[in-house]
């Protein structure tokens, strides 16, 4: 009976197409050995690390005493960094949700099964990785520095203190732009359109049992532009622009090419934001050199 099963099994195996037995290895010992060794090395590494470095334990939590800066764990500091530049709902909820859905959707856009199982398999894939990485990291760095008005500092370092022309005050940072839209005599938004009341009871959230208080539905137009419209335009527009450029200069041809470019760009932005948020944000979430303001990391 055992032989019958064995013959049937081996017949099934022989019938299987394109399976190159000579290219295959036995999992025991070849793979199990590697797994065993890496588990061993990692156990050892973490044991030594844990003997050498204690995990942090600060003072007992005191709700009355807010430390400055208060930071989320490092893997959320990218979002906390975004939070400094745009509407909180956008930075804290919408962007991560959309990003996760977009990542999950990658295989449904890049749906040919060619080029799998090899590192960056398309011709010219390597330079797309570099392009995405450079544009993503430098681009987000420039935007962060701009929003901290660092260009104003550089300008005044060159041309002397107070030399920044007041006519360019709107170009200092996002906040200044918002203030300029809101209050300046030169603002392109007419006075009457800066606040648009939509009425207190347009949304009867109290009927849904959500909140008793009417939600203030006055639209702050300058705020909407600066905190939502501009960031969304940048976050959607710049990646599309990058893909169009890469396509026009002939670097990105297939969908896989575009995905390599976009994903590399995304990773670069992600890591830049994380690093800045972790190591370069100090008191008041202002930019500091890490050695000027030793930040809390872990």
């Amino acid at each position: 009976m055992a032989t019958d099963a064995a013959t049937a099994a081996s017949a099934a195996v022989r019938g299987r197409a394109r399976r190159q037995r000579e290219e295959e290895l036995l999992v025991w010992p070849d793979l199990v050995f590697i797994e065993f060794i890496s588990a061993l090395v990692f156990t050892l590494m973490f044991t030594l690390l844990s003997i050498a470095i204690n995990s942090p334990l600060q003072d007992r939590a005191n709700p009355a005493n807010t430390p400055n800066p208060s930071k989320a764990p490092w893997y959320f500091l990218n979002l906390q960094e975004l939070l400094l530049h745009m509407n909180p709902a956008l930075a804290g909820v919408i962007v991560p949700t959309v990003a996760l859905i977009a990542i999950g959707a990658i295989p449904f856009y890049d749906n040919s099964n060619e080029g799998q199982g090899e590192w960056v398999s398309t011709p010219g894939g390597g330079r797309l990785v570099k392009l995405g990485a450079w544009v993503g990291s430098i681009g987000s760095l420039i935007l962060i520095l701009w929003d901290a008005a660092k260009h104003v500092q550089v300008y005044q370092m060159i041309f002397g203190a107070g030399s920044w022309p007041t006519s360019l005050n709107w170009f200092k940072s996002a906040r200044d732009f918002q203030g300029w839209l809101d209050t300046s005599a030169y603002s392109p938004i007419p006075d009457g359109l800066r606040r648009i009341p939509l009425g207190d009871y347009l949304l009867r959230t109290d009927l849904l049992g959500l909140t008793e208080e009417p939600i203030d539905l006055t639209v702050n137009v300058p705020g909407l532009i600066v905190e939502q419209i501009i960031p969304v335009t940048l976050m959607v527009g710049l990646p599309i622009l990058l893909s169009i450029v890469a396509w026009r200069i002939g670097w990105a041809k297939t969908r896989r090419d575009h995905m390599i470019l976009q994903f590399s760009g995304f990773l670069a932005v992600y890591f830049t934001l994380t690093i800045i948020g972790t190591a370069f944000r100090g008191r008041g979430m202002e930019l500091y050199w890490p050695w000027d303001n030793p930040p809390v990391i872990t």
């Binding site: 999992v27 590697i34 990692f42 973490f46 208060s70 080029g115 799998q116 199982g117 809390v296």
Partner: protein
């Protein structure tokens, strides 16, 4: 290669080999002999519930370290390590605002090897987030998300979120300044969602600010809710790797 289960015992070495690997206990546990013949090597994988996650044979390119850098396997390894150290920490930790902080101090200073358990748990938790991110990058750059592995890629994204949630819920438990404010900042982000945000935040932390209710919720999610979910999704993840024909390789 014709191989017999029981090589004839000739010298002393063979006799010892026989005593160690062909006794009734060994055969009761493992059934097959010592895995030194291809047949026994395959049986070693196929008849063991843990090793059975693997196929018995794999393509040689997948054994090359530079193909996977073992990153998925290391994520799983860290998950197991975190479970073991976490269970040990649970012996000494009570999730109440009155006790939590002292319990952690106690673990760190008084409990024998307590510092080792806590440090390992913490560093492995950071390590796991990192490994999972790197694993996702390796899967992306080797094009291993392409059909027929789309679904496993999505399962992976869910695992990434669960890994972050596991780490985030654990962050509150020491109840020190760092944890309280990190969780306050983090959960405020949830609260900023349009319309549904504030009620969601309320449910998550069990009140208007991070307090005793939040500690119990985070603790429960951390030690049972998310680990179960993660283990479930990992089961699906590993099962799908086999179903999708092993790791991706060039057509």
């Amino acid at each position: 290669m014709a191989t017999s289960e029981r090589p004839e015992a000739r010298g002393l070495g063979d006799r010892i080999y026989d005593i160690v690997f062909h006794n009734v206990l060994w055969q009761a546990i493992f059934r097959s002999g010592y895995p030194n013949t291809p047949r026994n090597q395959m049986l070693a994988i196929a008849t063991n519930v843990f090793l059975h996650l693997h196929p018995t044979r794999i393509h040689r390119t997948h054994v090359k370290i530079t193909h996977t850098f073992c990153l998925g396997g290391l994520s799983f390894f860290l998950f197991i390590g975190l479970t073991i150290t976490g269970v040990l920490l649970m012996f000494y930790y009570v999730p109440s605002v009155e006790r939590a902080y002292q319990d952690i101090q106690n673990i760190q200073t008084n409990v024998r090897f307590g510092f080792l358990m806590r440090n390992m748990h913490r560093w492995m938790a950071h390590g796991m987030v990192l490994m999972v991110l790197l694993h996702m990058m390796r899967v992306f750059y080797t094009g291993a998300y392409k059909p027929p592995r789309e679904f496993n890629w999505i399962v992976g994204v869910v695992l990434l979120v669960l890994t972050l949630m596991l780490s985030f819920t654990g962050y509150l438990l020491p109840w020190d300044e760092l944890s309280l404010w990190a969780i306050t900042v983090g959960t405020n982000m949830v609260g900023s969602a349009p319309i549904l945000g504030p009620p969601q935040q309320f449910v998550l932390i069990g009140g208007f600010e991070v307090g005793p209710a939040a500690l119990v919720r985070f603790y429960t999610l951390h030690v049972i809710g998310f680990p179960l979910l993660a283990a479930t999704f990992m089961t699906v993840h590993f099962w799908r790797i086999r179903r999708d024909g092993g790791l991706a390789r060039p057509l």
